[in-house]
Amino acid sequence: MLNIELPGLSLKNPVMPASGCFGFGKEFAGLYDLNRLGAIMIKAATPEARFGNETPRVAETPSGMLNAIGLQNPGLDKILAEELTALEQYDVPVIANIAGSRIEDYVRVAEEISAAPNTSALELNISCPNVKTGGIAFGTDPVMAGELTKAVKRVSSVPVYVKLSPNVTSITEIAMAVEQAGADGLTMINTLLGMRIDLRTGKPVLANKTGGLSGPAIKPVAIRMIHEVSRAVSIPIIGMGGIQSAEDVLEFLFAGASAAAVGTANFVNPFICLEIIDELPSVLKKYGYSHIRECIGRSHEDEAAYHYRT
């Protein structure tokens, strides 16, 4: 009752860790069997290794957190040689999150990482709010978003999902632009840009000053955006933003997502993905469904129109 087919992704269940909240999986592999996951979205890869921002990189907020990691990662070569190969032992589709400063960066990473044997799909991070050159410009301009998508599609040997930024006037406009450009799916939402100030110093808590807001606080924004975008596009959406429970997954499916990713909640409870997967069947039953497909897009008036059809 949990399986679903999406471009490039044959998911045994619709639950996967969100990029940046699960590293490359090895820490969690010590905690539970990664084969249980629907998929794994690995941490953003850039062509070269990046240290990212200075610390403090996280701050707590009401029902949420800010992060400004700054796309720290070991760089494409190391990810290919060490991280992706380590994931080969698991029977789990890997979605490779890729980032960069220029189109050439994305293209290079996309070409190489999509050719890895266990990369099932790419997730184009055009929405990282935490680095000046981390793609946020691509994420806020429909023309640039479309161009980037096209360039990556041209070289990618696997389906391409584009990760949308919520920090825009019209997320639907960006969504339509990347669909038009050939995106196979969308993932949304990335974090909302936020800030906290330390009362003792009077200065921002984060060294980077601003950070990305995630966690339950942003769930209503994510639901609204997925609801809106799913009316406007006909490619599937993997939803995320504040998911903490199987009930939350259901809410995202109702809104129009075809699968769901869990980010911040992995920090609160490292076993959360597993627990959600275990609880989903009974929660579905409780609300009268026998398969997650029946839930997708249910919140729309003309329900049938918003089921992503596999």
């Binding site: 909240c21 590293g23 990189r57 996280v58 707590e60 992060n67 920090f267 609160v268 490292p270």
Partner: protein, 259 residues
Amino acid sequence: MIRKEKLLIVSHREIARDIFELTFQGDLAAEIKRPGQFVHVKVSDAAVPLLRRPVSIARADAAAGTITLIYRRGGEGTALLAARKQGERVDVIGPLGNGFPADDSLKGRKVLLAGGGIGVPPLYGLSLKLKALGAEPVHVLGFDTKSSVFYEKEFEAIGETFVSTVDGSTGTKGFVTDIIDLFRLNFDTLYACGPVQMLKALEMRFPEKEVYLSLEERMGCGIGACFACVCHVPGDPDGYRKVCSDGPVFKAGEVVLSC
């Protein structure tokens, strides 16, 4: 192995101004490998505050199945923790991190343990272990003021113990480094935990010695997955260590202090 467990509070008391000693019972105690490891505590069952709080293990007793933490009530999270009562259960993840290295080779060696404020707690479990290994621990504990001093007696029971306070209200006035100078304390190995300024001062003062420093950093996951807690390593701009999973204890010089 890292576990998540609802640990039972078997005792919880204020041992100095805003300093609490909290003892849990649970299976997690059996997993603890080294002094200096820490746990990640969900301070309340409510959804807020969202993130866990990292707290060092002050002492673990595998036989009794107990884990003792000592923490300072400061912000929102530790205030909620301080309100939890004996008999309640607290959601804890651990043990995390690698802790202090200590083995047979230390037998008969002079080891100095320097702690500042809430950096003192992990040194307690460490000292018990060092003593058991046959080392000779000496303790230098720095606090702000008399009312915040804790565990002086407990450390004295293990070995020679010096206390300093910033305002001189008890012990020697000054910092732990002042005590080391004043009493010309000598040692083979130094273990330290406390404010980064203190760690830095110790690192600079004893470049030739074997020095281990336990660091703090704001954390997300606590298990090495989120890269919230990294610090730089000398000489490699892209290099890094994660305080949560590579640390929190590092050999002096391994990481750049300032993080």
